[in-house]
């Protein structure tokens, strides 16, 4: 079951990115209206390079990136653990579902940003509030996917396990859990992207570092290059995180994509 690396696909992907950069360059060239408002890719990349060794505020771009990454990972980790537990609980146990599902359905549609004021009241202006915003943005995604995964277990398979004398708790560990793993990963994938999106919002709330801060600070001094540099870093790091997640998923769920 070796996967062949599809060369044409990779080339097409690279071409698409190059084409995008060309369009960007063209539309921001000298003399265009857009060119007066925002810099081209060359300038942004030059600025990015400079940021690797000079401070923006108190840190270099890597320092800001690591701070954001830490917030994302802490919030995402908490969201994953709680989401997986709640999702499996609601999917497996009827009582748990009856009690928690209505609460969950009420909380689920609330956008993460709506929690900002509450986050400040509950956790203060420090890191706690930021972790909370990121947690909220990932939690519902993980829960709903894990929940539907635990619900979607093939009843034939559960029946077969029961018939072979499988006690209830082992049906959970040997049947429900493994068959939910692809769903769990779908939830985690969505959650890591939305966590990364929410970190920007979280860092708008009084912070002195992080990519989100960098973007907000850029906005305040009208520095488009700094804003775009921040956006690019978010895009690239987000892409790397999802790629890593896909790799882990491919290893754990070889069976679901053969």
């Amino acid at each position: 079951m070796k996967k062949k690396i599809d060369v044409t696909r990779i080339i097409m992907g690279i071409l698409a990115v190059v084409l995008f950069l060309c369009l960007w360059t063209l539309s921001t060239r000298e003399g265009t209206t857009l060119g007066k408002l925002m810099p081209g890719p060359g300038e942004v990349f030059k600025r990015l390079l400079k940021m690797t060794h000079t401070n923006i505020g108190s840190l270099t771009i890597f320092g800001h990136m690591l701070n954001s990454l830490r917030r994302v990972l802490v919030g995402f980790f908490l969201a994953s653990v709680c989401g997986i537990l709640l999702g499996l609980g609601m999917g497996w146990n009827r009582k748990c579902e009856a009690i928690l599902r209505p609460l969950f359905e009420l909380i689920r549609p609330i956008p993460p940003l709506a929690w900002i004021s509450l986050a400040i009241v509950w956790f203060g202006l420090g890191e706690g509030g930021k972790y909370f915003i990121i947690f909220v943005s990932g939690f519902a995604n993980v829960t709903i996917n894990v929940y539907s995964g635990a619900k979607a277990v093939d009843p034939e398979v559960i029946g077969a396990a029961r018939m072979l004398g499988c006690p209830k708790h082992r049906i959970f560990t040997s049947v429900v859990l493994p068959s939910s793993i692809p769903y769990i990963f779908t939830g985690l994938q969505i959650a890591i992207s939305s966590s990364w999106a929410a970190v920007v919002a979280a860092e708008m709330v009084r912070s002195t570092n992080g990519i989100g801060w960098m973007i907000t600070a850029g906005q305040n001094i009208n520095d488009m290059e700094q804003i775009l540099a921040g956006i690019i870093v978010i895009g690239v790091v987000g892409f790397l995180l999802t790629t890593i997640m896909r790799g882990i998923e491919a290893r754990l769920c070889a069976w679901s994509r053969v």
Binding site: D154, E156, V157, G159, A160, A161, R162, M163, L164, G165, C166, P167, R170, S174, V175, P178, S179, I181, C253, A254, W255, S256, V258
Partner: protein, 247 residues
């Protein structure tokens, strides 16, 4: 009541709400018997087996194995479904091992039994594949290997070959007979295919339409191996067919 019967079904009744599906059914199965249950489509054959295997709670009556109420953790029962019930996240080998692991058999026995039954159903070469990579007949053979590997005292089969083509069905039927004779288990086999019932069974129960009762019990002493073109075979098949058609 001694233990002369492997399975005793006494006054089994099952209702879904107000719908009476199984109406006071009683029968006994002897040790090492191959019992086939046939009936018209939708007559509740599967409800019957699901009640028997405790997947459903029964409304009234009792089902005893070795004179004791069914307890799937104590009694060694295996069940082969109409649909393929392999676990998609386990390889074929791990699927066959599944029941043995649930029953905490020693590692050496697990290896030995799995090797033996994988070989018997001809899947040794495919043991490390996942179910998604195999054909329907291979999956059904894996399910059969999984069921036999736990050396069940009772094997319940619910139209296991319903979705296979004729050639495969013939092959798997012969395989089943061979396994049954070698392992010496008791089999209850549900089917709507009369020829299959006559080919496999020692005894045939013919069910009525809903609410289901036992219409007739037929002993099948045709010598094995059986030939579906043999006049005695054809005669018995006709007899069962008439019973099902007649109401």
């Amino acid at each position: 009541m001694g233990n002369e019967y492997k399975v005793q079904v006494n006054h089994l009744t099952k209702k879904f709400g107000n719908l009476l599906v199984l109406d006071d059914i009683s029968f006994h199965v002897k040790e090492n018997e191959f019992l086939c249950i046939v009936g018209p489509t939708g007559c509740g054959k599967t409800t019957f087996l699901n009640s028997l295997s405790k997947l459903y709670d029964i409304t009234a009556g009792e089902i005893l194995i070795n004179g004791m109420p069914v307890d799937l953790k104590k009694h060694n029962v295996a069940y082969i479904f109409q649909e393929y019930s392999n676990m998609p996240w386990l390889t074929i080998r791990q699927n066959v091992e599944f029941g043995l692991r649930i029953k905490h058999r020693p590692e050496a026995e697990i290896r030995e039994q799995t090797d033996y039954f994988l070989d018997m159903v001809g899947l040794t070469k495919f043991q490390d594949y996942y179910p998604d990579q195999l054909s329907a007949s291979m999956l059904q053979r894996a399910a059969i290997a999984r069921a036999f590997a736990v050396k069940p005292e009772l094997l319940l089969m619910d139209e296991p070959y319903g979705q296979l083509d004729i050639e495969l069905r013939f092959r798997l039927e012969d395989e089943l007979i061979r396994l049954w004779r070698e392992v010496g288990t008791t089999v209850i086999f549900i089917t709507h295919n009369i020829e299959e019932a006559v080919y496999l069974s020692n005894r045939i129960l013919v069910l009525t339409n809903k609410p289901t009762k036992i219409k007739e019990e037929i002993h099948n002493d045709l010598p094995r191996p059986r030939n579906i073109a043999d006049p005695a075979f054809v005669e018995l098949r006709r007899k069962v067919t008439d019973l099902i058609k007649w109401w």
